[in-house]
């Protein structure tokens, strides 16, 4: 099947899906999942270089092309989407509009696949809008506040997209083509730096808005926090990656190193790229600091998405071979980790109906599989071996240290260690500790819901030990964009990943960890067996005290003994009075609202005489202009 046929039929199918789901949402969800499986097999079968044509618009051919980048990004997206589709088969019964959810999810899939396949800027824009609009219509299906969330999402997204569209038309006006590779050729030979930089930044701004980079990051918190729980996984795991894709297109596909070689800023990085890196670094700081103090677990991970978007941008922005690969690999790692985390949270909310960390606790006794999935996902998100998250962070650090960018490196380290803090907060507050009495009867979610999480976590673990299958398309991508084509980073025959400063062998490190674990286990079994202290005793037997250290007092109520409010109080106190970009935007909005009120007050006076006055004045002016 040609790519164009696939995309068009996918969009059509999504409408059909609505009616099928209207009859039975369960069948719709299962069909959705089967379509997703088919799409994955389709993606695997396509060979690079395949082109296809969608039609013509205003004399411009809408072209599709299958490259290494399309393969990689489609694969990541489909992994996330298909697991959410599987997850939704059971989860949808807690939702009000399952039919619309199925339809828009499929339509969004089509849109994002189209974005990755697009060969020219206008096709990219069309599919971009399909993806954004359909996802925007899913967001308000959540709680009460999610209407506002959808509006904020749409506005932020639109501000990015329109700048992108303006940039695309600017490029068309100057170079007479919309095809990305041809624009790249033209731009390299274009002498005017100002126009090039304008086009570059305008194109990148769509990516900035979508992946939640600093000035346009505020929608992430609201939209991720209030979207339907499982859809947050798609939002953070997949839709945000559309932004990373556009950033990659504007930074790497239009070879910024060559285009802006006349304005080097620091260590061979052009000023434009450095600007993006600075934005990324700001996002890391904001995302990390804000995530640490969140009590709402979904908003916490939403802010972590801001920070991780910053990592991706920094990695890609350096245009260093290792940094680029690290940034692109981070897309994969963050997609999987964030999807699993949001699905785990969706499972928790599905059972307990709250997303406040301070109201939860001790769910490990009731939902152990969800806990394990979350645990491995945060290990990946915090960048700890042997999960795959470490590889990308390691690559990004290598690039930063190699370029001597110490301040950016400092911010990256800060984000990395800060991520230990914020991922641990839900772990301790939601899953560990004491189980509050009201969640006595909570059960583990059904296998349909935990299976996708387990699969994604397993993939992440396998890639962490044997990263070469995923590094191969990334290296292909790097060759396509011509970033140091002679350098080889992944050396699968020696099991090595080569950095500029030393190598490492993921298989060996994993084996060492296993050996360490086995020795620890042997030591553990050698010595006297423990007596089990049941943390759930107060739940099981009325009047049984908590059998842990209580300073000699007997406490019967586990709710009193759960520490999860203001987990990092000592640290949070240090930046209580921080300046807030969101508040600034709100002030701006208030100002415009007041301006509107003022104008409104002038023109819409409640008295008829004022109306008569204005009408007369208008007529007079019209006549005066006429004659």
């Amino acid at each position: 099947m040609a790519m164009s046929t696939l995309l068009v039929s996918l969009v059509a199918t999504s409408v059909v899906m609505y009616f099928i789901s209207k009859a039975s949402w369960k069948i719709g969800a299962i069909l959705n999942f089967l379509i997703g499986i088919f799409l994955i097999s389709y993606v695997f079968a396509l060979s690079t270089g395949t082109t296809s044509e969608l039609g013509t618009l205003f004399g411009q051919k809408l072209q599709l092309i299958w490259t290494n980048a399309s393969y990689y990004f489609s694969l990541v997206s489909l992994l996330v989407i298909v697991s959410v589709m599987l997850f939704a088969i059971k989860w949808l019964d807690s939702q009000k509009y399952p039919a619309a959810f199925n339809m828009f999810l499929l339509m969004m899939t089509a849109g994002s696949l189209g974005v990755f396949m697009a060969a020219d800027l206008i096709t990219l824009y069309i599919f971009w809008e399909i993806a954004v609009l359909s996802s925007m219509l899913i967001v308000p299906m959540g709680k009460k506040e999610s209407r506002k969330a959808a509006v904020v999402y749409a506005v932020m997204s639109a501000s990015g997209t329109y700048m992108y569209l303006y940039g695309a038309f600017l490029a068309f006006q100057r170079y007479g083509t919309l095809n990305i590779s041809e624009i790249a050729k033209h731009m390299v030979s274009d002498p005017s730096t100002g126009i090039k930089a304008t086009i570059f930044l305008l194109l990148a701004s769509a990516g900035i808005a979508k992946s939640g980079i600093f000035p346009l990051h505020t929608w992430l918190r609201i939209a991720h926090g209030n979207a339907p729980d499982a859809f947050s996984a798609v939002l953070s795991g997949q839709l945000v990656k559309l932004g990373s894709y556009v950033l990659m297109v504007s930074v790497a596909a239009l070879p910024s190193l060559k285009i802006f070689s006349n304005i080097p800023f620091y260590s061979g990085i052009p000023a434009t790229n450095y600007f993006l890196i600075a934005l990324g670094a700001t996002s890391i700081i904001i995302g990390t600091l804000m995530a640490i103090k969140q009590d709402d677990m979904k908003m916490l991970i939403a802010f972590s998405s801001v920070a991780n978007g910053g990592y991706i941008l920094i990695g890609i922005g350096t245009m260093d071979p290792i940094g680029f690969e690290g940034g692109v690999l981070h897309v994969f790692n963050h997609a999987l980790a964030a999807a699993v985390i949001f699905m785990a949270f969706a499972s928790v909310v599905y059972r307990t109906h709250t997303k406040k960390i301070s109201e939860l606790g001790g769910l490990i006794h009731k939902m152990p599989i969800t806990f394990l999935a979350y645990l491995f996902a945060i290990i990946s998100l915090a960048g700890i071996p042997p999960m795959s998250g470490f590889i990308s962070k390691w690559m990004i650090y290598q690039a930063l240290v190699r370029k001597g960018m110490f301040i950016t490196a400092f911010i990256a380290f800060f984000g990395s260690i800060g991520s230990f803090l914020y991922v641990f907060r839900p772990l301790a507050g939601v899953f560990l500790g004491q189980l509050p009495k009201k969640y006595k009867d909570v059960k583990e979610v059904s296998p349909i819901m935990w299976l996708p999480m387990v699969i994604l976590v397993t993939i992440s673990l396998i890639i962490g030990i044997w990263p070469f299958p995923i590094l191969k398309p990334i290296e292909g991508m790097r060759m396509d964009f011509g970033i140091a084509p002679t350098m080889k980073i992944a050396d699968s025959s020696h099991w090595l990943i080569k950095g500029f400063a030393g190598n490492w062998n993921p298989v060996l490190v994993f084996n060492l960890f296993l050996i360490g674990f086995v020795i620890a286990y042997i030591l553990y079994t050698l010595f006297p067996r423990p007596k089990k202290v049941d943390l759930l005793a107060p739940h099981k037997k009325e009047g049984a005290p908590i059998n842990i250290y209580t300073g000699g007092e007997f406490i019967y109520n586990p709710d009193l003994y759960q520490y999860n409010t203001k987990f990092y109080a000592g640290f949070e106190r240090m930046y209580e009075k921080h300046p807030s970009w969101e508040k600034l935007l709100e002030m701006l909005a208030k100002f415009f609202y007041d301006l509107g009120e003022w104008v409104h007050g002038w023109f819409f006076r409640p008295s008829p005489s004022a109306y008569t006055f204005w009408v007369t004045l208008t007529i007079l002016i019209v006549f005066w202009v006429r004659w």
């Binding site: 230990f420 560990l432 500790g433 960890f513 030591l523 553990y524």
Partner: protein, 296 residues
């Protein structure tokens, strides 16, 4: 196969070296306070006694956390080079960032297991420990980054080789001092033992540990300290053959113990403000010197 023996040797040496040095440290502190103090082998007795007791377990995540902590610390201790290429078990994987992050596996395992015990003191201790990590790691990583930038390698045994003509401490003295201050925080020595403050939060993360759990975590702590001091010796004091390496190790250890034995404890935000004040600024200054080539 040789690599495996070397790794095993790392573990054995690390265990005996640090455990006896801990006893020596207790003796030194006692002498500073004009006491006699326990014998140098006291900590061996403590560990084996703890292992011989009949413990309590707070559920599977508690056991799993302890195993993960010990396993992670052992894996790290197996990778760490001991002063020279001869005593480097895995020359291809002794990258600094790998060691630093592998180390975090142990820390995460410990944090998870301890919070899994359901005790709020443990949670508070872990919250403090993580905040403290944010404090001391940042200056340390900046100094290490400038070192890597200067020597153009992150591989520890190569760093050691490149210091043949002069220790890194003498090349960037500022960096060495800051790394030592961070090392004090990493070791959890006196002004920075906020996370385990026994008088405030009932020894923090360790509140619920009994018997062999306490013993295993003590062993994990031993390996952690072995890795931390080894890294400092390798990166700043130029390693050397096994004998010199041991001498340097002991000197660094004794210095840290002496400083810690006369200091009281910081509060958590005081600690953060301390680390993010002068040491972080000096670390950036050091990085600037390295960038400009103003090294000794």
């Amino acid at each position: 196969m040789v690599a495996a023996y070397k790794a095993l040797f790392n573990l054995v040496l690390g265990f005996f070296l640090v455990l006896s040095l801990e006893g020596v440290g207790r003796k030194i502190t006692a002498r500073v306070q004009r006491r006699i103090g326990p014998p140098w082998y006291q900590n061996f007795i403590d560990v084996f006694k703890a292992l011989s007791k009949h413990p309590f377990s707070n559920g599977w995540v508690f056991d799993f956390g302890v195993l993960m902590a010990l396993g992670g610390a052992m894996a790290t201790a197996m990778i760490v080079p001991m002063g020279s290429t001869t005593w480097t078990p895995f020359p291809n994987s002794d990258n600094f960032f790998v060691i630093m992050y592998l180390f975090a596996v142990g820390a995460l395992g410990m944090a998870m297991g301890m919070v899994g015990s359901g005790n709020p003191w443990a949670s508070i201790g872990v919250s403090r420990a993580l905040t403290q990590m944010l404090g001391y790691e940042l200056p340390y990583l900046i100094v290490i980054s400038s070192t890597i930038f200067y020597y153009k390698t992150a591989s520890i045994h190569k760093l050691v080789e490149l210091q043949k003509n002069g220790w890194n401490l003498l090349v960037m003295p500022l960096g060495g001092i800051i790394a030592f201050i961070s090392l004090m925080g990493m070791l959890g020595k006196k002004p920075f033992d906020i996370s385990t403050a026994p008088a405030e939060i009932a020894s923090g993360p360790m509140t619920e540990l009994s018997g062999k759990y306490l013993g295993l975590l003590h062993i994990m702590h031993v390996f952690a300290m072995f890795v931390e001091v080894s890294l400092f010796v390798d990166v700043f004091l130029g390693g050397g053959n096994l004998g010199w390496y041991l001498v340097k190790f002991i000197v660094v250890w004794v210095l840290a113990v002496l400083i810690s034995s006369v200091l009281p404890r910081f509060r958590i935000e005081q600690m953060l403000k301390f680390y993010w004040g002068v040491p972080l600024g000096l670390a950036f200054l050091n990085a600037l010197f390295v960038l400009l080539g103003w090294t000794l």
